[in-house]
């Protein structure tokens, strides 16, 4: 923060000099506009057309994902393939079905093992808010208590048409997202006890 409010550059120079600071500020703007933004656009374009999901299927919604991957509603057209070796090569976690407290610990482990950048789609009423089993003692009421969710797809189970619409919304979000943004992080319960 420069003491005299003359330059708009966010880099502060210890040795002052209005000319140098203004030049670097302008250079930064020019570089962001002509190099970093198009490059960010290209990187996002590559990411959004090849979202590979983890095979994590907890309950009934997974059947509709199987139908969405079939011949009639084809998920592969959008780049969402089911062809990978392990979960360390995936970037999309589709939470399908009811998540109990026992499974939530394992789901959190799976989420943390996936490398950045990663996104999460909560499919079905049970993963958005507990759904039909809201009152149960063992069901986690909404997966977004522990995992940052990007798109919520309601339904019980949602038809493949709705799932594809959710994937289109996610692609829209990725196109408009900042490439260099820091990922959101929700501390898990075991960490929260230590804080």
């Amino acid at each position: 923060m420069s003491a005299s409010g003359r330059s708009k550059a966010s880099i502060s120079f210890p040795f002052g000099g209005g000319g140098a600071a203004a030049f670097v500020g302008k250079l930064r703007e020019v570089l962001i506009k002509n190099v970093a933004s198009p490059l960010g656009y290209v990187i996002n374009w590559g990411r959004l057309y090849s979202l590979w999901p983890v095979h994590l299927e907890t309950a009934c919604c997974s059947v509709e994902l199987g139908a969405a991957a079939g011949a009639r509603w084809d998920m592969e057209r959008f780049g969402v393939l089911e062809a990978f070796g392990s979960l360390r090569q995936c970037d999309l976690l589709i939470v399908l079905g009811t998540v109990t407290r026992k499974m939530m610990k394992r789901l959190r482990v799976v989420w943390e093992q996936m490398p950045e950048p990663k996104w999460c789609v909560a499919v079905g009423a049970c993963s958005i808010s507990g759904g039909l089993y809201t009152d149960s003692y063992n069901v986690v009421q909404g997966v977004d208590m522990e995992i940052p969710v990007d798109v919520y797809v309601p339904g019980c189970p949602p038809s493949p048409r709705q799932m594809l619409y959710g994937i289109l919304l996610l692609q829209n979000k990725i196109v408009n997202s900042d490439v260099m943004a820091r990922p959101k992080r929700i501390p898990s319960k075991s960490e929260a006890r230590l804080i």
Partner: protein, 180 residues
């Protein structure tokens, strides 16, 4: 003989697979461009006086503001299932609804069972076939009664309605519907 059957069976399978290379048989519904839509007048509803249920895929609700009396039976029914309906107060003058309350639906909890439609004794609640309800924010999935007032006429994403044509040679393919 069995060896011959085996060989001819194998050749038939290969031939039927190869025919896909020559004749274009497509089965995929190209979703954001086309969608099979039944007639939009078909809402999932229950008419107790005529003892008739009109069937259809269950999607977003439609509340008829000229019939709903605010009796809360839909909310009571849903409280035992998924607790997705809450009554809200709406400004305006409704002759049949003195308390001015109408149902609002939380689609994060709704399981689309249709029992609220069955519970309404005044035929004021229906379910349309509009299913594009996904969103980025969990709180945006709570639809106020004013948002449920109209049947959505247009589909998002410029989706064009289509119909299914079964052709023995070309397989199943989808033809955009002609506007009537």
């Amino acid at each position: 003989m069995r060896a011959l059957d085996f060989i001819t069976g194998l050749l038939k399978t290969i031939a039927s697979g190869m025919s896909h290379l020559l004749v274009r048989k497509r089965m995929t519904l190209r979703y954001p461009e086309v969608l099979i839509t039944p007639a939009p007048e078909e809402l999932f509803g229950y008419k107790p006086r005529e003892a008739r249920v009109t069937n259809g895929p269950r999607g977003k609700h439609f509340v008829d503001f000229s019939k709903c009396t605010g009796c809360r039976l839909c909310e009571i029914m849903c409280n035992g299932i998924a607790e997705a309906i809450a009554m809200v107060k709406v400004e305006g003058d409704f002759k049949q609804n003195k308390r001015k309350i109408f149902p609002s639906v939380d689609y994060g909890r709704c399981v689309f069972c249709g029992l609220c439609v069955d519970a309404c004794p005044f035929e004021a609640l229906y379910m349309t076939q509009y299913e594009e309800l996904a969103d980025y924010d969990r709180n945006a999935l709570w639809y106020h009664a004013k948002d449920l007032r109209e049947v959505p006429k247009e589909l998002p994403l410029d989706i064009k309605p289509a119909e299914l044509v079964l052709d023995p040679k070309r397989g199943a393919y989808h033809v955009p519907k002609r506007p009537r």
